[in-house]
Symmetry: C2
Subunit: 206 residues, 2 copies
DNA sequence: CTTGACGGCTAATTGCGATTAGCCTATACT
DNA sequence: AGTATAGGCTAATCGCAATTAGCCGTCAAG
């Protein structure tokens, strides 16, 4: 990774830990292994570093969205995949989603940074809501909609069902972001949640 | 309200809007209507103002918790109250909880401040999780537990049921904190959520 | 009536942290 | 070889925001 990229990377790590204001340009430089003034050969200002992170993230999100909608759009193919899904598959799906959000390095750091900085700038708030609320609800809504179409799940209100599926995941995610030592118990809760969800919405009347 | 208290109040408002680092002592003084150096007649430092806010909030939370557990502990009395509860009551309960969290001035500002500052200090993170996750789940778990005892709701896992009740409320709360213009649509979603919740967990099999 | 604490003000001071100036080396292109 | 560019360094500079110094009026208690 070249210096310019490493600056973004280290800066993101630090911003996620302490927030923009509490990170000194010299800190970033240190981590990269250069002196503060050398940073200015790569970026015009500290703010420009922050902006570049946002910019890059936008790109990643876009790519991710495209990748998802390529699969997502092909509903007939997806329907095949989800035809034989059962409770254990659902648990696996939820857990993997959770672990991805929690452990994917870039994603995690970026989310924490946004959490801290969201009130500084309406745009950042919008990015947060889109990325961690609206997009997941929309994507999962599509998946769960397929399961409903397959008759695997039953509801007359897919979007509320999706909210019921996702919001506990979101809540547990914010808990683990604040306190990673609660990961294990959160995973347990997550599994219970999904099994209960399946009982509530599953085809068979229990 | 005396000056010392007004400083806390204005500081909290500003911290909630911009975060600790971006608020200048002079801003706080301005709002109070005095000059920055005069603040130091009341507090030793900017940090001391922040600490005093946390301190005061701790006190309020404690009082609130006591008030709740006075009612909560008297389960037989509460059970009377909840004996005749129906779906509309449940919607009202959820909406009021939501609106209280969202609109109570002190609560809202404090939550936003904590959201921003939670990663600066493990203690703050713990306060956040306790106040906005663990305590609500515990309190609502008790209420919903009463409804289960009354046979109004049916489940073999009250804590997951409570998670299903609360986590959508929490998610919508964070959305509205970021973007108040979504209040109306969130209230609509909230109502749908609770009606669906009641269908899922209500005594009668639909 | 006087004195001392309280709370306000103006005018420094201080210190820190972002940024700039200006120099130096290496490498790559001509 | 000759030169331009990229990217690093040290040593300022610059500006801002927290804090301190020191003064002053008010008012309650003795």
């Amino acid at each position: 990774m070249d210096t310019k990229q490493r600056i973004l990377d280290e800066a993101l790590t630090l911003f996620a830990q302490k927030g923009y204001a509490d990170v000194y340009v010299a800190d970033i430089a240190d981590k990269v292994g250069i002196k503060a003034p050398s940073l200015y050969k790569h970026y015009r200002s500290k703010q420009a570093i922050f902006d570049a992170i946002i910019e890059e993230m936008n790109g990643r999100f876009l790519m991710q969205a495209q990748a998802l909608s390529i699969n997502g759009a092909d509903a007939t193919a997806d329907a095949e995949i989800y035809k034989h899904i059962d409770e254990d598959h659902l648990v696996k799906l939820g857990t993997e989603l959770f672990m991805y959000y929690l452990n994917d390095d870039y994603t995690r750091r970026f989310r924490k940074m946004l959490t801290i900085e969201q009130f500084h700038d309406k745009d950042l708030a919008d990015v947060y809501t889109k990325q961690y609320i609206d997009d997941p609800l929309s994507y999962q809504g599509m998946l769960l909609g397929l399961l409903v179409a397959q008759g695997i799940l039953v509801t007359d209100n897919v979007s509320i069902m999706t909210l019921h599926f996702y919001s506990p995941i979101y809540l547990l995610l914010t808990v683990c972001d604040r306190d990673p030592s609660r990961l294990e118990s959160s995973l347990k809760t997550l599994e219970e949640h999904i099994r209960q969800f399946n009982k509530l919405y599953g085809r068979t009347i229990k």
